[in-house]
């Protein structure tokens, strides 16, 4: 085999891999879904009471299941199922770690600290998603929101305000990233 043939074969392989990766991309769906869920949760957080917690107790697992259903349906339609394990594990980790981190910080510190901890865990989870998707826009957004959440909590802001601001900011970042993503991969 000559060098030119080897180069052509490698180019063909990379073209196929790139096309397969694009086909497997379904990440816009959970971004838009959880972005919308976050935005809806902001007024509930600001109002206080049990509704915000109750909302997420239902919305988070429902969103997770809906994302799985969408991915499965799309795989059957397209005949192509992308690699789901890293996304599934990260999503599950966010679901489990968010209330645990908030409880832990609340016991040691303040309610505002617990609100910031929730934002940090969700932000860290989405930073993993951003890395998996090589999405600098999403990564920059979640880092900025996480830093703002910590600054607000340390600045003595009220827990309800921290939670509402984090929900609004993360919701906007997720929604913006999802719409951008959907536009970039129009056929997804």
């Amino acid at each position: 085999m000559h060098g030119e043939q080897a180069a052509e074969t490698l180019r063909a392989v990379e073209r196929l891999r790139g096309s397969a990766r694009r086909t497997g991309r379904v990440f816009w769906f959970p971004l838009i879904l959880f972005g919308a869920l976050m935005l809806v949760s902001a007024p509930l957080a600001f109002a206080g009471g049990v509704w915000h917690g109750a909302y997420w107790a239902v919305a988070a697992p429902a969103g997770f299941l809906l994302t799985g259903w969408y991915g499965r349906r799309r795989a059957v339609d397209r005949g192509f199922e992308g690699r789901v394990a890293p996304y599934g594990f990260t999503g599950l980790a966010i679901l489990v770690a968010t209330p645990l981190a908030a409880e832990g910080v609340s016991a040691m510190s303040s309610d505002a600290g617990a609100a910031a901890a929730r934002g940090l865990v969700v932000g860290a989870g989405y930073a993993v998603f951003a890395w998996l998707e090589r999405d600098a826009f999403l990564a920059a957004g979640v880092v900025a929101v996480s830093a703002a959440a910590v600054a607000l909590a340390f600045g003595g802001a009220d827990a309800r305000l921290v939670t509402a601001v984090v929900a609004l900011a993360l919701g906007s970042v997720f929604l913006g990233s999802g719409v951008r993503y959907k536009g970039r991969y129009a056929d997804t």
Binding site: M1, H2, G3, A6, A7, T9, L10, A12, V13, L16, R17, S19, A20, R21, T23, G24, A75, V76, R78, G79, F80, E81, G82, R83, V84, A85
Partner: protein
């Protein structure tokens, strides 16, 4: 030092089979029709190459029945992933060797 072409695996190196593995390594599983259309092959041609890869233990197939239709899903095995990576590595080594010779 042996020539990098010695490292090429005959089963994997064939152009269509390398293409099949290139698609499968980026997925959890892919159905027969998607592969056939992506690689622009006939049913018979694709089946022959799939049989060779499956016999070598590089891919696995799973027959299901979805929406009242039979369907064949294909996925790459651990050995298939390793064989594909080795093949790409051998091709890159070959290219680097040619580039090196051109520069001298």
């Amino acid at each position: 030092m042996s020539h990098p072409s010695v490292e090429l695996d005959e089963t994997v190196h064939q152009r269509v089979r390398l293409g099949i593995l290139a698609v499968l390594v980026e997925s959890r599983r892919v159905d027969f029709v998607y592969l056939r259309d992506t690689l622009e092959l006939s049913d018979g041609n694709l089946s022959r190459h799939l049989q060779i890869l499956e016999r070598a233990g590089l891919i696995r197939s799973e027959k299901t029945f979805e929406r009242k239709r039979p369907r064949t899903w294909l996925s790459v095995t651990k050995a298939g992933r390793a064989a594909f990576a080795a093949e790409v590595e051998a091709l890159r080594a070959m290219l680097a060797r040619v580039d090196g010779q051109t520069m001298h």
